[in-house]
């Protein structure tokens, strides 16, 4: 049976800036299976973030195919793709994930507002998630009133709001202390097991990569096999 959630087929990404071409991905084939915990590792500039953007359907490849739940995203309309992203994928970026003029609670609620969930339901869910990340006492704080670690935990809670199939995180714990890192990773691992989610994280830290069942090494836009 086919339990592949995301499949990349010969994906290339070329950035053109001021006439200069940057080959960020040079033909990547990748399959991420359901309930898999994958870590993407590689040197700076190797194309990790670019790869994650492809997986999360945040950007379109220059060539090649991205297939999400059996659907080639290049065939989808922008509005459908956007909604699918909102419902199936939860993304956490390295910095500044939150809406600056909404409170922690409102930030968690936001993805549910986007996909037009019922108001009662979404408010209850937002409170649950806030509790789950242990930040109930920060419900009415704005992002600027929280610490970096707290912000990231709110961002994770927000990524979970629509019960996505896939959680993607780019350097989730990059600028946090070791203790907080461990806390966040433990939380993510627990969630992945509980909710049977697919998790893909980018990291350059081996300690973080330990959590993963599968490590994808990327060097200069290519996946290094057997790394």
């Amino acid at each position: 049976m086919n339990n592949v959630v995301i499949e990349l087929q010969n994906v290339k990404k070329i950035y053109k800036m001021d006439g200069v071409e940057t080959h960020a991905l040079r033909g990547v084939d990748l399959q991420i299976k359901k309930e898999e915990f994958v870590a993407i590792m590689g040197p700076s500039g190797s194309g990790k973030s670019t790869l994650l953007h492809m997986i999360g359907a945040l950007d379109k490849p220059t060539s090649g195919k991205v297939i999400l739940d059996g659907v080639d995203i290049s065939t989808m309309r922008e509005s459908d793709l956007a909604r699918m992203r909102g419902k199936k994928i939860g993304i956490v970026f390295q910095f500044f994930n939150l809406h600056p003029t909404l409170t922690a609670l409102e930030n968690i609620e936001l993805p549910m507002i986007v996909v037009e969930k019922d108001k009662k339901e979404r408010q209850q869910k937002a409170r649950e998630l806030l509790k789950a990340v242990g930040l109930e006492h920060r419900a009415h704080h704005f992002p600027s009133q929280m610490s970096g670690g707290e912000e990231q935990r709110i961002a994770i809670a927000r990524a979970l709001a629509n019960d996505p199939e896939i959680i993607l995180a780019d350097e989730l714990t990059g600028n946090l202390d070791t203790k907080t890192k461990a806390e966040i990773m433990d939380f993510l691992l627990k969630l992945q097991k509980e909710k049977k989610m697919t998790v893909t994280v980018i990291t350059h830290e081996p300690e973080i990569a330990q959590y993963a069942e599968k490590i994808v090494h990327i060097v200069d836009g290519r996946i290094k096999v057997g790394g």
Binding site: H53, E78, S79, A82, G86, P111, I113, E116, N162
Partner: protein, 435 residues
Amino acid sequence: MKFADIFKLSLNSLTHRGLRSWLTILGIIIGVAAVIAMLSISAGMSQNMQAQFSSFGTDVLTVSAGRTRAFGPEGGFGDRFQPGSSQSGTSGQTSQTTTTPTLTDKDILAISTADGIETVTGVISGRSTVQYLAQTVTVTVEGVDPAAWNTMTTSQLALGRFLELGDGNSVLVGNSIANGMFNYNLTENTPIRIGSKTFIIVGILKQSGTGSFGGDDRTIFMTIPAARQIVTGLDTDQYSSIQIKITDTNAVDQITQNVDQVLYSSRQVTADTADFTVTSPTSMLETIQSTMATLTFFLTGIAAISLLVGAIGIANTMFMSVMERTRLIGILKSIGTRNSEIMKLFITESGIIGLMGGLLGIFLGFIVVGVISSVGINIMGMGRMGTGTNTSVAVVTPELILFALLFSTIIGIISGLIPARKAANLQIVEAMRSE
């Protein structure tokens, strides 16, 4: 995303930008207030002017001597509204007529032969001193033929009766003269001294707000023989003007031509050398209306420029707002927000700015209009106009308010269109790279 939520998010970002939002709104407030003030002042002015010239029904033509007093484009329209002295027009007109009187019984006779004429009557007008108790003022005095005048005027009686044929020393007094001009108000049977003769008041007119052609608030009416004793300089067969009641108001233009024709031949002049002018209420109104239209256009144009500046302010603010929130737009898109929703978000924001500006602009406009109505009347050169209870300098209509609200909202939306498109078309990955 539901529109209610889009609206809330827009409002959220507007309120969080506090002062900057208000400054942008201020631009629209000033523009809308200026437009409201200009439009309503124009409307008020034209209402007043129309009221001024309708003291006779639409079925009355007036013949006056000379060409310079014509209500044509090159006519003396302007000097009726010289700042500070609305009466100077009347006195100027009278002195001109009395020094070069050219309308006589012969003209009345000629006019009565034209088609479409019901009644023709001569009118004598001039200025005279009026004394009551210890006070003396100077007002306009008109000598009229009661039989004809009573059928032509639109003025109504407040007290007493109209003039009658044999009234030798009876007068009918305009409302503003009776009430307020003297320390003690005039009433029926009060004797007053006009020139060197004593008259008895038989009637007082209602306030009409109308102008110098008849049922005037600041005119005293008497019979023609009486007026000849007060207004000097006119021979016994001469008149200051001639009033004609026509049979068919739908044929005003035709009957005006008929009158022109009979006077051309009786006075032995041509259209080019004509030394008289026939005016109809409609021709006056047309002139007034076209003058007012030009004025309105001009004033509103100036106001519209300030509104345009406000609109540019909105566009500028929205562009800045898109730039500042590039990363936020990326985040919103990454959690599933559609391009069309991003677009709506920004357009709603600029629309709210426009709407708020419109609402507060109307409010400010009201204040400006109120201040101008009470203070600015004399500045506008319309001293007479403010006196009528039924006249106002500025008129704010519900349509105007609705229009202003709609218009300012649309301005907001249009100003936000390009910035919103820019926001909607941002690529997520690009947006996320901006700090």
